[in-house]
C-alpha cells in the first residue's frame, strides 16, 4: 500500500533507495526488539543499519517517523480477504490480525507508534492516515456484503471494520495481555452478530437503543474527588 508521505524514490523497489529503506526499517525493528521504544535513537539506527546519520535525518527526521513507516510496512502483510460471505471475510481478516499481533515484534511497533503519536503531531497524522486507508480498503468487504443482501444498506462499512480490530488494540494497549488464539474468532463472531443487530447503522448508535442522551456533568480534565 502506498501512503501520502512516501518519498518518490521509494517507488523503485529494487533500487538503492529501497535497499537503504529496508536496511533502516530492519534496524528499527531489531532495536525495538532489543531495547524497546525508550532506547530507540537515530544514532543507534544509523549504527545498526550502516546508513549515514545525515541520510536518516534527511529522509525520516525522527524516530517517530521511522516507527510509523515500519508499522505501515509490516501491516501490508495483512491480506484483505474476499471469501464470498461476510462471516467468512470477517473471520479471515480477524485471524490475520490475530497472527500479526500474536508475535511480540508487531505489538512493540504498534506501542511505539501510539507513543510517538502522543508526543508528535506529525506522527499522529501519519498514524491516522494509515488507519483511515486500512479501514477504507477493508470496508470493501462490508460494501460487498450489503450488495449481497447480507447486511442492511445503512450499515457503516468503516464502523464494522473498526469494531473488528478494536479488541486487538484494546488487548495490546489497554489490558496489556498477549493476543491469544481465539481472539480473532471471538471478534469475528461478535462483529457479525452486532452488525446484524444494527449496531453499526449509519447516523445512529444501534437500532435497538436510539441515540445517546448527554445530560450528565461534563468533565473538564481536572480531578474532582481528592477531598
Amino acid at each position: 500500500m502506498t501512503t501520502a508521505h512516501q518519498a518518490p524514490g521509494e517507488t523503485r523497489p529494487g533500487g538503492r533507495t529501497a535497499r537503504t529503506r529496508r536496511a533502516v526499517l530492519t534496524a528499527v525493528s531489531e532495536e525495538l526488539a532489543d531495547g524497546g521504544f525508550a532506547a530507540l535513537t537515530m544514532e543507534r539506527v544509523a549504527q545498526r543499519s550502516g546508513v549515514h546519520l545525515a541520510t536518516l535525518y534527511r529522509r525520516w527526521r525522527s524516530v517517530d517517523k521511522l516507527v510509523c513507516e515500519l508499522l505501515t510496512e509490516m501491516s501490508s502483510d495483512i491480506p484483505l480477504p474476499d471469501t464470498g460471505s461476510l462471516p467468512g471475510d470477517l473471520r479471515a481478516l480477524a485471524d490475520a490480525i490475530e497472527r500479526f499481533y500474536g508475535s511480540a515484534g508487531p505489538r512493540r511497533v504498534l506501542e511505539a507508534v501510539v507513543a510517538a503519536a502522543a508526543r508528535d503531531p506529525q506522527a499522529a497524522t501519519a498514524l491516522r492516515t494509515f488507519f483511515d486507508e486500512r479501514l477504507t480498503l477493508a470496508g470493501a468487504m462490508v460494501r460487498r456484503a450489503v450488495a449481497r443482501g447480507e447486511l442492511p444498506a445503512d450499515t457503516d462499512p468503516e464502523a464494522v471494520v473498526a469494531a473488528l480490530g478494536a479488541p486487538f488494540y484494546h488487548r495490546i494497549l489497554i489490558t496489556r495481555r498477549p493476543v491469544e488464539p481465539g481472539l480473532g474468532a471471538s471478534a469475528a463472531t461478535a462483529v457479525w452478530a452486532a452488525a446484524r443487530a444494527g449496531a453499526y447503522a449509519l447516523g445512529g448508535g444501534g437500532r435497538c437503543h436510539g441515540g445517546a442522551e448527554h445530560d450528565g456533568p461534563e468533565h473538564d480534565g481536572a480531578p474532582g474527588r481528592a477531598d
Copy 2:
C-alpha cells in the same frame, strides 16, 4: 477506588497529603491541556502546583507515574451501574464512558498514560493493574446477568466488559477521532448482540466458529516486503 500503589497518607481525604495530591494532579491535568504529554516535566508540575520538586520526586518519581495516578483519579467518576438488566447496564456504562472521553482532558490523559507505558515498565504495570481492577469490578454486571439467566453460564464477564470499552480506546488511540454521541449506544448494542451469540464464551472464541487455526507464516517483527 484504591490501588495497590497508593501511599498510606492518601487515605486521609481531608489531610495535607490529600491536598498536596490534589494540587499536583490538577497541575498535571492543566499542563497536559496546555502543552500535551511531550511538554510535561516534573519541574513544570512543581511550578504550577506550588509543591516542592523534591516532594514530587519522592512521592511520584516520574511524570509517567503522575499521569497514571491522574487517570485512576479521573476514571473513578465513571459509575458502575446496576439497572436490573444487562442491556440497561451495558448502555448506562457505555454512555458514562462516552461522556468521560467525550471531552479532550480525559482523552489527553489516556494518551499520555499509554505513551508512558510504552517507555516505562512500572507505568505499564500500573496501567494494567488499573484496567484489571476496572474490568473485574464491572464484570459484576455480567455475573448478575448470568445469575438472572440473561446470558449462558460460560460467558466470560471480563471479556464482555473489555468489548464494551474497546471501541472507545480504538477511536481515541488508533483512528484518532473525537468520541461522538452514539458511540456508547453502538457499543452497548454490539456487545449485547455479540454476548447472546456466544462471542465471549469462556475457553473459546465464539460458539459459531470454533477456535482459530494458526497455520499462517509467523511474523518476527522484521519488514519483509521492501524489495
